[in-house]
Assembly symmetry: C3
Homo-oligomer: 140 residues x 3
Amino acid sequence: MTSILKSFNLKTKAYCDVINITEQVQQLIINSEINIGIVNVHNAGSTGAISTVEYEPGLVKHDIKDLFEKLIPYDKNYAHHKTWHDNNGAGHLRSFLVKSSQTFPFRHKKLILGTWQQIIFLECNEKSRSRTIHCTIMGE
Amino acid sequence: MTSILKSFNLKTKAYCDVINITEQVQQLIINSEINIGIVNVHNAGSTGAISTVEYEPGLVKHDIKDLFEKLIPYDKNYAHHKTWHDNNGAGHLRSFLVKSSQTFPFRHKKLILGTWQQIIFLECNEKSRSRTIHCTIMGE
Amino acid sequence: MTSILKSFNLKTKAYCDVINITEQVQQLIINSEINIGIVNVHNAGSTGAISTVEYEPGLVKHDIKDLFEKLIPYDKNYAHHKTWHDNNGAGHLRSFLVKSSQTFPFRHKKLILGTWQQIIFLECNEKSRSRTIHCTIMGE
């Protein structure tokens, strides 16, 4: 067994940008010497998150935004804002709930995902950001 | 260290079926040659999810359903429905929130879980489905 | 590649205690012989959870509590209460939603986290508890 750590960068838009990162993760697996195993996909940051979703405009541009506006609205006076006099309490809470990493299996160098399932990075911050996604590929 | 990928199948019921898969995952570990390590449990699909819960009827038949009906109700006109003219926007959002995989430790070939903690598959789709759960077992 | 399992204990307070466990996880990595890889952080229990958050008083003492009181309030008559005649339905649902484990990458024996990102254990139970956190460190 072997293990490698690789990363790639993203430019994100503010407020609930949903970015399809499946191809970047898949390419790192192809470039590795590992045929079967797992990949841990992680964002080092407290206002981003990793999950999967069907990457189509209804969910990506509307439904995910609407869901979070209902659960954790941006326009609310969070206690976090008093600590730093910033405005990203919602971003922290969204990232806390969805979490910054997820681990996926692959075989024959191919991610095991559903036909309609893509790996996404969720920008929770209220500013556009540069993000680094770390992928640890482990297997044989 | 070594790594193996095994899978098993499930038949699920529509609308928030919660299925205890602890024994299937445990059995794959017992059948492997690995005594200590981790197991990544993953559903390849965008309307299912993996988590843990105490598998008793109150939570499984009522509370989890009620929670999701409050957060992400089935009967709502999601933007996703316009893309495909289907009706499973809630299923996608529930799966996105809980996520399609989780990773657990084991030792002496036994999953390290709480007394009241079971691994579950959550069917988020509005149709009954056949599901394949992929388990990557990694360790020594 | 090699893999080790280590654990540490916590004393928690009831009702949404958020505990920064970054240093304990980091120390186990330093004490291991592994320089680069992943660590799976897991709580064996159905009323606790693992995630990350910026560990500052606004989020930790107020915003996370408020979020969960909105989504999954403690003071509600959950079906779970009828099964065991206890009072921790909310604790189970919160743990189910955030989940009991998360996996993080590290290199040069250092966790790859954002500047404002700490690993936390979330006590969801309505009683104070003794908790064991299991860390599986895997890599080279």
